[in-house]
């Protein structure tokens, strides 16, 4: 069963329908890219998956989004648990107004996780992504007693997972706002990962970044996709080609076409997809 499954999802702001009748399954453990021109509902679709759309006024959602079989729009659905399970990266990275370290520990602390739970969480993750594999140039991790410094270990692990540790390990207590924008986006990734989500949503995560930082984010996504289901919104076609395993193409609020990336780009079925890929429409 797919992790995330949308059926007949229609979203309207007031009387204006932004998304119409979207039905699609998002494959597990892959990078799904939502592409389409600006203003076609990509971000709304993404934010509907963790109910961030609820924050907008006059929003109306019809249809179903099932995550692990549970309809998240059910009135009894637990939104907090949902948002814990579905991490989110915004277009422009916003560090929380605290230190680098506190940005990472924010989620676990607010969810009241104790040392044992933290340790369990990381150990489970380490089975899939061992920390040694995250140390570039054969550099080994600092020897830390895991039992007594769970938080420190958590911070190190997730910063490594986001590819940021080497750049910030000396200044964990500095304000996160002092980081470059590219580093801030990787910090945002580490912060989202620290609440141990199963899904990562990213809303044009590289559009505010320089090419090198953008490349770093893409690289991290490729490492992470083995363990997380990743959904990325982009309007950069070349980025979609680079990272997508599965593609969803939206045009004017309508789901035009979706399918595995290779098939989508090499032999699109719909005329509009063909026109978009060839650059006739944008």
């Amino acid at each position: 069963m797919p992790h995330i499954s949308l059926s007949n999802l229609t979203i309207a702001y007031g009387n204006h329908k932004v998304l119409q009748d979207i039905t699609v399954d998002i494959p597990n453990g892959q990078i799904t890219v939502i592409i389409g021109p600006s203003g076609c509902g990509k971000t709304t679709l993404l934010k509907s998956l963790n109910r961030l759309v609820d924050l907008y006024e006059e929003i109306k959602v019809e249809g179903e989004v099932r995550i692990d079989g549970v309809n998240i729009y059910d009135p009894k659905a637990d939104i907090l648990a949902l948002r814990k399970k579905v991490g989110f990266l915004s277009q422009k990275p916003y560090p929380l107004p605290m230190s680098i370290r506190d940005n990472i520990t924010f989620g676990p602390r607010i969810h009241g996780m104790n040392g044992k739970e933290l340790l369990g969480q990381i150990q489970e993750l380490e089975k899939h992504i061992p920390i040694d594999s995250l140390c570039p140039n054969g550099r080994q991790k600092e020897t830390r007693s895991r039992k007594t410094h769970e938080m420190a270990y958590l911070v190190e692990y997730y910063l490594r997972l986001a590819g940021l540790w080497d750049e910030v390990q000396e200044r964990l207590h500095d304000p996160a706002t002092q980081l470059s924008i590219g580093q801030q986006q990787r910090l945002a990734l580490a912060r989202a990962l620290a609440v141990e989500p199963e899904v990562i949503l990213a809303d044009e995560p590289t559009s505010a970044l320089d090419p090198i930082s953008a490349q770093l984010i893409e690289k991290q996504f490729k490492i992470l996709k083995n363990h997380y289901t990743i959904v990325v919104v982009t309007h950069i076609l070349r980025q979609a080609r680079r990272i997508a395993d599965y593609v969803i193409f939206l045009y004017l609020g309508e789901l035009v076409e979706h399918g595995p990336a290779e098939q989508f780009f090499s032999s699109p079925r719909d005329e509009r997809t063909r026109a978009y890929i060839s650059g006739e429409i944008s």
């Binding site: 915004s90 929380l96 107004p97 607010i110």
Partner: protein, 268 residues
């Protein structure tokens, strides 16, 4: 632009020059360390320690009281809590209260005190003064809270936090420098107000020992001294005004320093 800045600076300089010229000669250690002796208002010895301490008591007490009520209200004015419509109405009411002359607060406080059987006291002064300070504090804090980028809250919500958690961890930290400024702005307004405490706090030559004792204050000390026909006492009025001005200046500098310290982590 330059003309307007010059005008503002001239007014400030004018006030300072007049007060310093007239008051500086009477300013001495006894003035700030002693309470009035018999015949003080006829030009004899003593000081206005009673009014300095009284004013600080009143302003600190009222700041604390209005902060306790004001901060939750300022937070509640966010759209997640009150909704746009109710927040707009509350804001409008606060703006009207802000513009209400302080003598009206004084009269209102006095009626309530009479009704409750309280006499002019530190407590009465603190309560009335905090009514005056509350709208200032709420509106200035709320303006900063409203400037919190919505994306920042969104990020926090996306991590699975409740709105209270987001408010108390993210919004509070982000707005902290503004909160400090708001509190001290209200403090500055409160310590200089005479009309609201005229009936409610009373005036005395002693430093109050309990919340139910009457209390002196600097603005009223200025008022009473400047109204006498004796030149020495009038000079002391200016000296008292100078002391008040110095306190306000220190508070304002302190608030800047504090708010700068708090803005280390602020997301711009």
């Amino acid at each position: 632009m330059i003309a307007s800045i010059t005008l503002v600076l001239c007014v400030l300089a004018g006030i300072l020059i007049v007060i310093v010229m007239r008051g500086a000669s009477s300013l001495n250690l006894a003035m700030i360390t002693q309470t009035p002796e018999g015949g003080y208002y006829l030009g004899k010895g003593g000081g206005i320690a009673n009014a300095i301490v009284g004013s600080l008591y009143l302003a600190f007490g009222a700041s604390l009281l209005s902060f306790l009520f004001g901060l939750p209200i300022a937070f509640a004015l966010q759209k997640e809590y009150l909704g746009r419509r109710l927040a707009r109405i509350t804001r409008l009411s606060l703006d009207i209260l802000w513009g209400t002359p302080s003598i009206v607060y004084g009269a209102f406080g006095f009626i309530i005190m009479v009704y409750l059987g309280l006499r002019a006291s530190l407590l009465g002064g603190i309560i009335t003064l905090s009514l005056l300070m509350l709208p200032i504090m709420i509106r200035s804090i709320e303006e900063v809270i409203r400037m919190t980028p919505p994306e920042l809250k969104e990020i926090s919500y996306a991590l699975g936090t409740t709105r209270i958690e987001t408010t108390l961890t993210v919004v509070l930290r982000q707005a902290l420098p503004g909160i400090v400024t708001g509190v001290l702005l209200a403090f500055g307004r409160g310590i200089g107000d005479a009309a609201s405490i005229l009936f409610t706090a009373g005036y005395t030559d002693y430093i109050p020992r309990s919340l139910f004792d009457p209390v002196a204050s600097l603005p009223l000390a200025v008022f009473f001294q400047v109204a006498t026909p004796i030149p020495e006492v009038q000079q002391r009025a200016y000296a008292s005004a100078l002391i008040l001005l110095i306190i306000v200046l220190l508070i304002s500098l302190g608030s800047r320093l504090l708010s700068r310290r708090c803005s280390k982590h602020i997301v711009r």
